[in-house]
C-alpha cells in the first residue's frame, strides 16, 4: 500500500491492521514519532493527518486517509516551525521523549486556535503526558508560539 509522509510517497507491504506508529518507526525509519503506551494515554505518538492531531498508535495503517506529517516534517533544525522555535527558546525538554508528541499536539491546536486561553491550553494539552514534569514550560512555550503565529 502507499502512504504519503512529510510530502513523500512510500510503498509499504504490511498488514492493514498494523498501527501507523509502527509503520512509520520500523518500516520507514521515521523515529521522531515515539511509542509510549500503545493505548492513546500518553500522546507521544501524535502525528498530523491532513493537519489534524492523531494518535498514530491507534490508527491502523489500512484506515489511513490523508497526508501524514511527523515532527520531522513540521520543521527541521535549520527551518523551525514556530512551535519548535518556542520549545527551544523556553528550553522545554528534559528527557524530551514526549516532546515530539507535545509539539505536534500544540501545532495542530494553534493552527485551529491561535488565541488560546489558559483554560484552552490546559484542556487540549492535558491529553499528552510528560513524566519529567515540563508542563510549566509547555504552557509558556505555547503562549509564545501563539504570539509568533498571530504576528506572522
Amino acid at each position: 500500500m502507499q502512504l504519503s509522509v512529510n510530502g513523500k510517497i512510500h510503498e509499504v507491504d504490511v498488514e492493514p491492521e498494523m498501527p501507523l506508529l509502527w509503520v512509520l518507526r520500523d518500516e520507514l525509519g521515521i523515529t521522531g514519532v515515539k511509542y509510549g503506551c500503545g493505548i492513546a494515554q500518553c500522546g507521544a505518538c501524535t502525528v498530523h493527518v491532513d493537519g489534524a492531531a492523531v494518535r498514530s498508535c491507534q490508527l491502523p495503517v489500512g484506515e489511513l486517509v490523508g497526508e501524514v506529517t511527523t515532527i520531522e516534517g513540521l520543521g527541521t533544525p535549520g527551518a523551525l516551525h514556530a512551535v519548535q522555535a518556542a520549545w527551544i527558546e523556553h528550553q522545554v525538554a528534559q528527557c524530551g521523549y514526549c516532546q515530539s508528541g507535545q509539539i505536534m499536539a500544540a501545532a495542530a491546536f494553534l493552527a485551529l486556535n491561535p488565541e488560546p486561553t489558559d483554560a484552552d491550553i490546559d484542556a487540549v494539552m492535558s491529553a499528552n503526558l510528560c513524566r519529567c514534569g515540563t508542563y510549566p514550560r509547555i504552557r509558556e512555550a505555547i503562549k509564545a508560539a501563539a504570539q509568533t503565529i498571530r504576528s506572522a
Partner: protein
C-alpha cells in the same frame, strides 16, 4: 578488577594520551587503586589518565561519562569542562565515553556509604561505609544519587584547565611566544599579534607535550558559563524529533524482539506453546529465556502481537500474593530482631513518654511505585565470536558490560557498550534486565543484532518498583512546643534487592531505610529515628530520591501532627527547632515567597515541608483550594540550597519537574499486587499529574553553602508532605497514606 586498598594520600595526576590524529586530556583524583590498561610505566601510587577532552581533526569532543536521563547531565558536564577549556557549547560534541573504572562516581560512593554525616558541618562518619568499599572495588560508574554535579564540579573543570594549559604550551612551542602572553577563547589560542591557532591544529603538537601537573582553577568571578543561563546541548534535537534514543537505534541486519514474562513477577515458567505465534507474519522464532519467552520478528509490533499468542503455563510469584501480606510484613517488622539502624537518638524518648500522659501517635504508608519513564526500556545487543556490542540507555554501563560478558561467555573487556540518550529513567535504568534478556537471545543468534523493546505493559508490570514502606510516630508536646518525636520506619532494603541482582552482597545497615528521616536538621529535645528491615517482598529498586521518597513524607507528616498538637505554627515551629543555618534559610525563603501567615480565605490552605536529601535542604510550601469537586493544587513555592546553581535554566526546570513528579505520584499512583501480579499496567491506571492539574511553581536556588550539590532528586521528598499539610489546613482532614486519592478527590 582493582585491588581494594586505602589511599590516605590524595595526589593529583594530570596528563595527556595521544589518540589517533589528536590528543586526549584528563584528570582525576587518585583516591582509587584501579588497574587501568594505560597504567603501565607509571610509578607506585600513580594512575593513568582517562580522557575527558578529545581533540582530533573532527573538532573538540567532551567526554561526559554520567548518563543523560533527561536531567541535562551531558550539558552540565560539558559546561564544566568548557568553562576552563574556553570552548563554546555550540562548538563541541559530547560523547558519554566507554565504560571504565576510572569514571567511577566518587560522590555517589560518599553519599551511599552508610550513615555518612550528610550536611557537611559537624560530626564524623558513623559507620564504616561498606557500600563505598563495594563501589570502589567494582569501579562503579553509576549515574545516580544526584551526584553528577558534585562529582564533576572540580574534576571536570580541572580536566578542562589541564587541556587548555597544554594547548597553550603547544601554541608556545609552535609560535615561540611565551605561554604567559597567550590567551584562549572559543576553541583557539590567541597570540598577542592577533594570530589565532585553533585547538584542532594544535592537537598533534599537544599530544607530544607533558601536561602541567598543577593547574589553578579560575575564580568564580571569572566564570563565563557557570551560574548563567545555558542552552542545553540537546535542546534543538529534542525539539525537532532528531534526538536518537535507545529505542530509535537501528543497526544493519537487526531483528526485533519482544518478551513475554511471567506476570507473577520472577515466577517460573512451566511450559509454553508457541505454535500459533510461529505461524504469524514476520515471526522468526520463539525462544525460551530466563523467566519467560522471547519472540523474534522483523518488526516490533509483529513481535509484540505474536507474543500475545504464545500460550504459557506460569508458576506462582516468588513473593506474597495478596497486598495485605505485604503490609502485614511491614507491620511485623517493628521488632528488635528486625532493627536495622538507630543513628538518631537524642535526649531520652522513653523517659519523656513515661512522664507524658498525652502521647500522640500516627501510622503512615507509602505504596510501591513504578518508575515508568516514557521511553520503555530497550536494548540492542549483538554477540559475535569472542566479542559483543551493546546499544542502550543505561545508568550502569560497567554492570552491563560484565553481565553481557557473563551471559555470552566472553571477556567483559570485549563488550563494547554504547550509552545512548534516555527517555527518562527515575532510577529505572539502574537495572539491566532488558540487556540481559537481549543478550540471551543474541547469544543464540550470533552475528545478528537483537533489538528488544518492552511493551508499556511489560515495562510497568515487570518494573522493580519503589519500596513499599510504613512508619509509626509517637510524640509529646509541652508548652506549645514539640518536645519528643520518635519515628520508626519499616521497609525492605532497596540496596539489598538491587545489588543482589548484580550478584553483590551489601553488608551492614541500609541507610536508605531511614534516609530523609534520621538526618533532618531539627534539634528536638527527645528525638529518635529507628529503621526496621522488613523481609524481601516484591523486588524493589531505587526510585527518584530512594528512601527519602517515602521518608520525607513520613518525617514531615509526623512532625506536622506534633506541631498541630502543640498548637504551634508549622513553619514557625520548624524554624524554631531548626539546627542548621542552610535549612533555616530555605524555610525562611519559602515563608517569604508564599506570604506565609497571610489570610488565604475559606476552603484554602497552605502546608510546608522540608527534607534534607543528598545533602540538599529543600523546603516547599504548597497552596490548595478545596473545591466542591475536590482538591485543586494552586501554587508551590520551592527553595533549595545547592551551593552553586550551575545552570539556572536547567535548575528551574529540574526543580519544577521534581515537584510535579512527586505531587503526581502522591495524588494518584500506586502499584498493587493481586496473586503476585501487578494490577496497574499502563498510564490509565498509573497516571501521575496532567497539565491541567499543574500548579504555578515558584523556584529559588540558594547559594549560601560551600558544597556544590545536585538537584535531580531533592525536590521530590518534601512535595507530598507539603501537599498533605495544605489539605489538612484547608479541610481538617489528615492524610497518612499515599496515594492521597484513596481519601480525597483531586481536580
Amino acid at each position: 578488577m582493582g585491588r581494594l586498598k586505602t589511599f590516605t594520600r590524595r595526589t593529583f595526576l594530570i596528563g595527556s594520551v595521544a589518540v589517533a590524529g589528536g590528543v586526549a586530556f584528563g584528570a582525576y583524583k587518585v583516591a582509587t587503586p584501579h588497574e587501568n590498561p594505560l597504567s603501565a610505566g607509571l610509578g607506585e601510587g600513580e594512575a593513568a589518565i582517562t580522557p575527558y577532552v578529545r581533540i582530533d581533526a573532527q573538532g573538540v569532543t567532551l567526554i561526559t561519562p554520567r548518563a543523560d536521563l533527561g536531567q541535562g547531565a551531558w550539558s552540565v558536564q560539558a559546561a564544566l569542562i568548557a568553562e576552563e577549556l574556553d570552548v563554546e557549547l555550540d562548538q563541541i560534541r559530547v560523547d558519554p565515553g566507554p565504560p571504565s573504572p576510572a569514571y567511577w562516581n566518587t560522590a555517589l560512593a560518599a553519599e551511599s556509604a552508610a550513615f555518612m554525616v550528610p550536611s557537611g558541618g559537624t560530626g564524623e562518619a558513623i559507620a564504616a561505609g561498606a557500600l563505598s568499599a563495594v563501589m570502589k572495588t567494582i569501579g562503579m560508574q553509576i549515574t545516580g544519587g544526584s551526584t553528577t554535579v558534585p562529582d564533576g564540579f572540580v574534576k571536570l573543570r580541572e580536566a578542562g584547565a589541564v587541556a587548555r594549559e597544554t594547548l597553550k604550551l603547544a601554541a608556545a612551542q609552535k609560535s615561540g611566544v611565551p605561554v604567559r602572553d597567550l590567551k584562549t577563547q572559543a576553541g583557539k589560542v590567541l597570540l598577542p599579534d592577533g594570530t589565532e591557532l585553533t585547538y584542532v591544529e594544535l592537537a598533534p603538537i599537544a599530544a607530544g607535550i607533558a601536561p602541567p601537573r598543577e593547574v589553578a582553577l579560575r575564580d568564580p568571578s571569572e566564570w563565563r558559563l557557570i551560574g548563567k543561563p545555558m542552552r542545553r546541548v540537546d535542546i534543538v534535537a529534542k525539539s525537532t524529533g532528531t534526538q536518537a534514543y535507545g529505542i530509535d537505534q537501528r543497526i544493519d541486519g537487526m531483528v526485533h524482539a519482544a518478551v513475554v514474562l511471567n506476570p507473577a513477577q520472577r515466577g517460573a515458567m512451566m511450559s509454553f506453546d508457541a505454535s500459533e505465534a510461529l505461524q504469524m507474519r514476520g515471526v522468526r522464532d520463539v525462544v525460551e529465556i530466563s523467566g519467560g519467552v522471547a519472540v523474534i520478528a522483523d518488526n516490533t509490533w509483529r513481535a509484540m502481537e505474536a507474543g500475545r499468542k504464545v500460550k504459557v503455563d506460569w508458576g506462582p510469584a516468588a513473593f506474597p500474593a495478596p497486598m495485605e501480606e505485604h503490609w502485614q510484613a511491614l507491620s511485623d517488622a517493628f521488632t528488635e530482631a528486625k532493627r536495622d539502624s538507630r543513628q538518631r537518638d537524642d535526649g531520652d524518648v522513653e523517659i519523656s513518654f513515661a512522664e507524658n500522659a498525652g502521647l500522640i501517635k500516627g501510622e503512615y504508608r507509602a505504596p510501591y511505585l513504578a518508575h515508568a519513564p516514557l521511553e520503555p526500556i530497550n536494548a540492542v545487543v549483538r554477540v559475535d565470536d569472542g566479542a559483543a556490542e551493546v546499544w542502550t540507555g543505561t545508568q550502569i554501563p560497567r554492570f552491563v558490560q560484565n553481565n553481557v560478558g557473563r551471559i555470552a561467555g566472553i571477556d567483559p573487556e570485549k563488550v563494547t557498550v554504547h550509552v545512548l540518550a534516555m527517555g527518562g529513567s527515575f532510577g529505572h535504568r539502574l537495572e539491566d534486565e532488558v540487556v540481559k534478556q537481549a543478550t540471551e537471545i543474541a547469544a543464540r543468534m550470533k552475528g545478528t543484532p537483537i533489538k528488544l523493546t518492552y511493551s508499556r505493559e511489560q515495562d510497568m508490570t515487570h518494573d522493580f518498583p519503589r519500596q513499599i514502606a510504613m512508619a509509626r510516630m509517637r510524640g509529646a508536646v509541652r508548652n506549645g512546643q514539640v518536645e519528643t518525636y520518635e519515628l520508626d520506619i519499616a521497609m525492605p532494603s532497596v540496596v539489598l534487592s538491587q545489588m543482589s541482582r548484580q550478584g553483590l552482597a551489601v553488608p551492614g545497615p541500609d541507610s536508605q531505610i531511614v534516609a530523609g528521616a534520621w538526618d533532618q536538621p531539627f534539634a528536638i529535645p527527645n528525638h529518635r529515628v529507628t529503621g526496621y528491615r522488613a523481609r524481601e517482598l516484591a523486588p524493589v529498586s531505587s526510585w527518584r530520591s530512594v528512601g527519602a521518597s517515602s521518608n520525607g513524607f513520613f518525617y514531615n507528616a509526623g512532625l506536622d501532627e506534633l506541631i498541630h498538637a502543640a498548637g504551634a505554627d508549622p513553619l514557625a515551629e520548624r524554624i524554631r527547632l531548626c539546627s542548621n543555618d542552610e535549612a533555616r534559610k530555605v524555610l525562611e525563603a519559602v515563608g517569604e515567597m508564599s506570604g506565609w501567615g497571610t489570610e488565604l480565605g475559606e476552603g484554602r490552605g497552605r502546608g510546608v515541608a522540608l527534607t534534607q536529601s543528598f545533602g540538599v535542604h529543600c523546603a516547599q510550601v504548597v497552596e490548595v483550594t478545596a473545591t466542591d469537586a475536590g482538591i485543586r493544587i494552586d501554587k508551590v513555592h520551592v527553595a533549595a540550597e545547592v551551593g552553586t546553581v550551575v545552570d539556572p535554566v536547567n535548575f528551574d526546570n529540574l526543580v519544577k519537574g521534581g515537584v510535579i513528579f512527586a505531587l503526581g505520584h502522591a495524588m494518584n499512583c500506586e502499584i498493587t499486587y493481586t496473586d503476585g501480579i501487578a494490577d496497574q499496567d499502563n498510564f490509565h491506571a498509573f497516571e501521575g499529574m496532567r497539565l491541567y492539574q499543574c500548579p504555578v511553581i515558584e523556584v529559588r536556588g540558594l547559594e549560601n553553602g560551600t558544597r556544590v550539590l545536585g538537584i535531580g532528586e531533592p525536590p521530590v521528598p518534601p512535595a507530598a508532605p507539603a501537599l498533605a499539610a495544605a489539605i489538612f489546613a484547608a479541610t481538617g482532614q489528615r492524610l497518612r497514606e499515599m496515594p492521597f486519592s484513596k481519601h480525597v478527590d483531586f481536580v
